[in-house]
Assembly symmetry: C2
Homo-oligomer: 139 residues x 2
Amino acid sequence: MTTRGEQMQAHVLRVLKREGAALSAYDVLDALRADHPKIAPPTVYRALNALIDKGGVHRVESLNAFIACNSDHHDHDHGSIMSICDDCGSVEENAAPEVVNNLSGLLGKAGFEAQRHVIEVHGVCSDCSTENSAEGRKP
Amino acid sequence: MTTRGEQMQAHVLRVLKREGAALSAYDVLDALRADHPKIAPPTVYRALNALIDKGGVHRVESLNAFIACNSDHHDHDHGSIMSICDDCGSVEENAAPEVVNNLSGLLGKAGFEAQRHVIEVHGVCSDCSTENSAEGRKP
DNA sequence: GCGACTTGCGTTACAATATAACATATTCTA
DNA sequence: TAGAATATGTTATATTGTAACGCAAGTCGC
C-alpha cells in the first residue's frame, strides 16, 4: 500500500525538513506546486494530518504552522515542548517529560484526564539575543 | 477617555462571562449583533486584543477561541494553564507557577529567553469521565 | 469658540487557514 | 472481472484574521 498518499506524505515531509522551519499549510502547498502544479489544500492537510498521527510532524498551535520532527529521538506523545523565537521564527523541539508529568499530575488531582499537551513557549532564542545585544543599531 | 472602544470591551467581556466557555471571535460577533446589528470583525478583534492586554481575557491558541478570565486571582503573565475538555468543550484555567518556572529554567539553560507561555492540555474533564463510565451506552 | 492636528474607531474589502461534500480512481474480495 | 470498500482528487465554501482607508471625537494653539 505504498500509494499516492504515502508518496505525498513523503514529499511533504521532505519539504518541511528542507526548510527546517515552521511552515504554514499553504507554504507547503506552494512548495509542492513546484512539482505538482494542481495540488489543492485538502491533499496537503491530509498528508500533514497523517504525518502528525505517525509522529513525523508537529503542529505548532500558536502559529497555525507545521514543523518536521527533526529526529530520531523521543516518543512523541510524551513530553515534547516547542520554543519559538518571535524574532527569527525558529522553532526548537525539546524533550521535557518532567514538565509534562508535573502538568498531568496537577490536573489529575482535579479529576482531569490529560491526553494531549500543547506546550509552546514564545521568546527570543540565544542567537537572536546575542545578536541584539552585540549590535545596538536599529535598521 | 471612556469611549466607544471601552464600552465595546465591556460588552465583549459581558458576553464571554455570560457564556462561561471558549467562544470564537465570530461567536462573540454574533452575540454582539443582538444589540449592535452593524458590528464588523475588526471591532471585535480590537476589543478582544485590548482585553487580552489588560488580562481580562485569554486566547486559547489550540482552539482559536477566547475565554473570560474567570477571576479575581493570579497575575496573568505568570503561570496560568488551560485544561480543555474535548468532550464537553469546557475550559478551566489553573495556576501553575512551578510548571512555568520549570519550563523557563529548562529553556534558559539553552539560552532561550521565555516571554509568553502557551500551556494548554486537552483531555477529558472529571464531569465527562464520570458520566462516560457511569453509562455504558453509545447513542 | 474655531480651525488644524492627532488619535481612535468603524467600515470595506480581502487575506490566510481549514474543511465539507462530492467525484474519481484504486485496491480488495470473491 | 464484477462489485464492494477504501483512498484520493476536486470543487466549493466555511472559518479565522487583518490591511487600509475615512470619518468622528477629542486636543491644542490661537
